[in-house]
């Protein structure tokens, strides 16, 4: 390392201009040391993932090109599964439903997540109670949440109908899940309820991390409440918003219990989404087909993921 003193110093960006031989020694080897440290620190996660995820991921892609059923080696059939799927009217409805479900739910969660987080970041009494409250929908297994919503939506004896009929707002019971026009909105509401705690708590944590000085400086410069929000808050939490958006979108698109427990994809494919279609393929032990359904979602995911990743990794 001492020998490198003769080389031109490439200072890593962000390093302070300092004087002294001691510092130069540190700076010279910093790039190399940082690289090594970088790889070392990221190694545990990588090892886990290569073992547990990369192989299954590649396996899934591979079998989607075969006619594999459980227990039998499949033959390579190229795009056969995809052709079969594309042709099915269910598949076309599935693409549309998935886009609608994910799009609307994510928008609702973004708006509500941000709004509620800002609300809870204020000096209110019993803050801890309210922050704990908001975790509740997240604190139970997904299937419990959705069978509860199934009960809430039930046409006869379900809570919502009891309320509506009791208050005289409707004459006869409303069939939330079996009426074609209401099925998707009902699934959307239940999915939103279940998922918005993730957004609120993440945004709240991000808001809490914004240094107070930034607000004070902005106030001194004469910024009003909305301007402070726009110019201090939003940029500071931008990264967290992007990550949460990405992760939550992946989860919601892969979500199975919400549709399966509420409507099983019905009525008449009005709420059929990719994960449910994949599940049906698995029930016939046709894992090649099931894999094809899941893999066909990947290109969109990958593009979204890489886009957000790029935004996040820009300095």
């Amino acid at each position: 390392m001492v020998r490198d003193r003769s080389r031109a110093v490439t200072r890593p960006p962000g390093a302070r201009e300092t004087s002294g031989q001691a510092t130069r020694k540190l700076t010279l080897s910093l790039t190399q040391r940082n690289s090594l440290l970088g790889y070392l620190l990221v190694a545990p996660v990588l090892v886990c993932l290569s073992l547990l995820v990369v192989y299954p991921f590649l396996f899934a892609i591979w079998i989607s090109f075969t006619d594999r059923t459980v227990g039998a080696e499949g033959r390579f059939i190229g795009l056969g599964n995809y052709a079969y799927l594309l042709w099915q009217p269910s598949f076309q409805a599935t693409i549309w439903n998935t886009v609608v479900l994910v799009g609307v739910v994510q928008t609702l969660k973004l708006a509500a997540g941000l709004g509620v987080a800002v609300l809870l970041n204020q000096p209110i009494r019993g803050r801890r109670f309210w922050r704990g409250l908001v975790l509740l929908p997240w604190a139970m297994p997904a299937f419990v949440a959705f069978i509860t919503w199934k009960l809430l939506y039930a046409p006869q004896g379900g809570a919502f109908n009891l309320v509506l009929l009791g208050l005289g707002l409707v004459d006869s019971h409303v069939d939330f899940l079996s009426t074609k026009a209401l099925a998707m909105p009902s699934v959307i509401v239940a999915t939103f309820w279940r998922g918005f705690p993730f957004w609120v708590i993440s945004f709240l944590a991000a808001l809490q991390s914004v240094p107070r000085e930034l607000y004070e400086a902005a106030a001194i410069d004469g910024a009003g409440a909305w301007q402070r929000f726009h110019h201090v808050t939003l940029p500071s939490i931008r990264h967290v918003v992007l990550v949460v958006l990405l992760l939550s979108t992946i989860w919601t698109t892969n979500g199975f219990e919400n549709v399966w427990l509420l409507t099983q994809g019905g009525p008449s494919d009005a709420t059929m989404t990719f994960p449910v279609l994949a599940y049906l393929g698995l029930q016939s032990l046709r894992i090649g087909e099931a894999a094809a359904v899941s893999v066909s979602m990947l290109p969109i995911f990958a593009m979204l993921a890489l886009f957000v990743a790029k935004l996040l990794q820009e300095e």
Binding site: W62, Q156, D175, L262, Q264, G266, S268
Partner: protein, 446 residues
Amino acid sequence: MAHADGGLGRPTRWVLALVASCVLCVADPTGEAQAQGVPAALPKAVGTFTYWGGLIFSEEANTMLVQRIKQWGKERGVPVDVVMINQNETVQRVSAAVEAGTMPDALDMGRDLMLLLSRNNRLEPVDDVFDRIGGEHGGWLPSADSATNPKDFGGKRYGVPFGTSGNLLNRRDDLLSAAGAKDPPQTWEELSKLAAAVQRPPKYYGMGFALSNVGDGNLTTSMLQSWGGRIGDDAGKRCTLDSPPTRAFLKWITEAHAAGLFPPGVTTWDGAGDNTAYQSGQAIFIANPGSVYLYLKKNDPELAKSSKYSALPRGPAMRVAPQNPNVRAIPATGKNKQLAKNLLVYLADDKFMADYYNYAIYGPVLNSQKTASVFRESPLHAGLLDLALNGTPPGFPDVANAALAEYETNFLTPKMVQKVVVDKKSIQAAVQETQAACQAIYDKHK
């Protein structure tokens, strides 16, 4: 990627045949060795003997099965691990176990899973066990025999039946008798007329039959067949759904729906939808294998007294009342196959099965089991006995092959009904679209 063996090679088949014949030589035809004592020829267990039982609603029945298998283990000096598997997870669990090579030594399953696994050579042939048990218990009932018929499974038997299940018509006798209908309806059309006459919406509706994407929804396939419709041709290769009887059936059921004879929500009911409707007093007729009976007996004696049971009605062309055998099977990758066969014989003991049937909701599969007292004393079980004796084989009148199984796992008949009642498509369009989807499935299995 390394995988477990994709199939049995020829040498392996010969070894298995040899082992099977050895088992037959050693097995005691008089049945003496069956109850007590260890025949010297039984091998020692390799590791712990694992059994996956099918979890059913009746906790008493589940406990009985576990105890019985443990007792067998104690008598044979075999360490035993019994796990009860929930129906909802069987396919996932079995798929994972097959792929990972961690299948148990023996397990319970339904006929469809047995069909799919045997096609991939994942199950051990059990003709010897089947024949022996039949011999010791007065012969198998024709329904049990035909459900595991070797000609449907490539020449061998792969499962040993232990109970049949199927839907019976549950009815609110109190409401119907009050309206003058004391006897059960004999045809579906009679049923819908009764439903229209007796129901009082929104308090209770007549036809509590699921039209959704669940197993219950596939009752519509049986209804369709009773009208004379057929899913496939006699060879089971081509889809023959589009036909005048199919259209006639679709007309009847969609008109019944339009007339408000179905409770709300039937197009998205889950498996428990009809149970809930009946147990809440909101349905007059439902089709149920007996879980409602067990629930009522324990939790709602008043409603239990008002309920009666009968066979599914006929359609214009025939009666289709499917009975499905549940079987015990031995995976091909098991290490204790001889022990497993011994266990299967042990579990067929008459006294044990008679006690078991008291708590479970199965019909008998062997002649010696017909005389168990529960089939006389319990109205539901009398119905199950009738189903075992007179019910139609799975899939009848269609060929119960993999293509039909996939047709059913995709719920194509309920979806066809949904196309008319939800999407408001014409009967013509609905039948044609379903015919196309059905043909696509049959094409995959050519």
